[in-house]
Symmetry: C2
Subunit: 362 residues, 2 copies
């Protein structure tokens, strides 16, 4: 299979050698998918230098065989994934010191390692797979681009079918059906459709509120293709925009443009965040931009790297990140414009193309 799984597994095994680990127990579903191709919700993977095991349950028997192929030995366990692990692990050769994913293993399961798994030595690890995932390969980038194309087609359809008088829930329904129609195999996260004062809540959920003349309408959503997410936000206005709405929107648009132009691999997440935040502060809206500028997208909608005031780490080459400045005025409303940007070796490239002007809805 030319999808990079063998290369990823080899790179991981090299890293295990450096870390003096004989194997890694992978419990994050996104990490399992990245390494094995398995897309189900319930699985653990044990990656050793010689042997690889993927343990899942009955519901996924057919799917796991098809998705995983030769990349790992699939074990179907009818009661608990842990029973499968303890049954098959002793036969794995030369496995004595085993890493586990500290950010993805709950305390209860960590206790299992110490008790039922006491014949092995367990070592906490962080970011062994996530670090690899930060740099997207060509196949991954193609999936993200297709997820962006899906989202943009769906947003266009939605814009054509949205009118004053519809509820946020109805607009969300139109958007989500259009995403399916465009071929999205899921939703990257729960859609945000926020009208009027609701748009001042950055993570509002759609409700029964009706779109009224003069409302801002913030739509933040994403498609999923081959497991990979897009994440796009646009803010519209119902009817004619007020001067204040035009002003706030323009500040956000300029902040977005500056950050999209300035961001690049090798820069710290803090410096990237500064590109937009500095401008918004200079324009006097700094108090109303309380969240971070962006985050990586991939198999998860929030993944490394972070573009934030507290992010010291450097942005990796071939990461795909969101750039999503916003201004939120309590009671009044909010504006956010979010694009997805690929940090290539030869500069950054904005992948989203949907117009960024303040479009009015009739």
């Amino acid at each position: 299979m030319p999808d990079g799984r063998e290369r990823r597994l080899s790179a991981l095994c090299e890293r295990l050698t450096v870390e003096q680990l004989d194997a890694l127990l992978v419990s994050s579903p996104a990490n399992v998918r990245y390494l094995s191709g398995f897309s189900g919700s319930s699985a653990m993977m044990l990656v050793g230098q010689q042997d690889r095991l993927l343990i899942t349950d009955y519901r996924y028997a057919t799917q796991a065989a098809g998705e995983v192929g030769d990349v790992a030995r699939v074990v179907i366990e009818s009661t608990s994934l842990w029973d499968g692990l303890w049954a098959h692990m002793p036969a794995m050769s030369a496995v004595r010191v085993v890493g586990f994913e500290s950010a993805h293993m709950v305390h209860r399961d960590f206790q299992r390692l110490l008790e039922a798994g006491s014949r092995w030595q367990w070592r906490p690890t962080t970011n062994l797979v996530e670090g690899q995932r930060e740099r997207k390969d060509a196949g991954e980038l193609a999936c993200i681009k297709e997820a962006i194309a899906c989202a943009e087609r769906a947003l266009e359809v939605t814009l054509g079918r949205t009118s004053i008088g519809m509820t946020e829930l109805e607009i969300a329904g139109v958007l989500e059906a259009a995403l399916r129609q465009a071929g999205s195999d899921g939703f990257a996260f729960p859609s945000i459709v926020a009208s009027g004062p609701n748009s001042a809540r950055p993570h509002a959920r759609p409700g029964e509120r009706t779109l009224e003349p003069g409302d801002l309408l913030l739509i933040d959503f994403g498609a999923r293709v081959g497991g990979y997410c897009s994440d796009v936000t646009r803010t519209f206005v119902a009817g004619a925009a007020s001067d204040r709405q035009r002003e706030v929107h323009e500040v956000v648009r300029m902040a977005n443009e500056r950050a999209c132009r300035g961001v690049r691999a090798g820069m710290s997440g803090r410096d990237a965040d500064r590109l937009a935040r500095g401008y918004i502060e200079d324009r006097g809206f700094g108090d109303w931009f309380g969240h971070s500028l962006g985050h990586g997208i991939g198999l998860e909608v929030h993944e490394a790297p972070r573009l934030a005031r507290t992010a010291d780490a450097f942005l990796a080459t071939d990461a795909v990140v969101t750039v999503e400045p916003g201004i939120y005025v309590p009671e009044w409303g909010g504006v956010r414009i979010e694009d997805d940007v690929h940090l290539g070796t030869d500069g950054a490239r904005v992948l989203t193309q949907f117009p960024r002007e303040l479009i009015g809805i009739g």
Copy 2:
């Protein structure tokens, strides 16, 4: 607020006394919502005998104030929820021994407790809140019933708009838009729309496959109202059913009916599972029913109790559980019929009403 949060918090505090804990750090989002009403995705709650703290981030500032009200003191933390915890915890009176949720705290965060939180004694706990959540109060039951009504309205609409030649993705789009139209404030889980041989995979995701004459069509989905989930499955046939399809469907329907009639509070999860499994085995299909009979639903779509071969625990009074027997024949197809059942003091009551016969799609 007459929504039971104060009663829930009092009951939890009584339990903390029994467990000799001065406070509990609640990190499961569903448990936070149950106790505080906060519906955002990022929060921690510290429940002490005197004081209650809810820590969330900037994105949820307005929402948290509105949802939580007087039930807890809301702290908005701009960088990490943990910074908020360490900043405010020292001022909490008489808090020395603190429980944490072993099933919801990842190892990395557990290490924070031992390091940054070393001035307190930390004790792992399990099911302190989940145990309470198993018994639904009147308000919760009303939400679940409304989520079921939403799902049934959406399924009826979808059935009227589905025809041979549509793809699984298109059908999912119709279903999800109808859910929004019916007032669902989200999806209980990723919808399953599986046609033909795909229906043999209990957790299939909708794809580009077209509905063809003679296909089984399995639809498993749920609405969400006030945070509470419904979970419903019906299996249809495209055109006229074959004898084999009719036979398999009838066995599943009878198994569902027997379990719905026989299940009650006080029974073990194993005995409940047996009600359907025994019948399916007697009819010779035992090998093709590989998953459990059901699970509790509430703020999460999978919660306590379990109805399964390995479930020793007794089903609590006022739990709401799914009853979802299925028969899956690889390559050929699968049938599942799933209802939601309330285990009341005066017997069980099936809450779902959508017809269970094998309906043909034209």
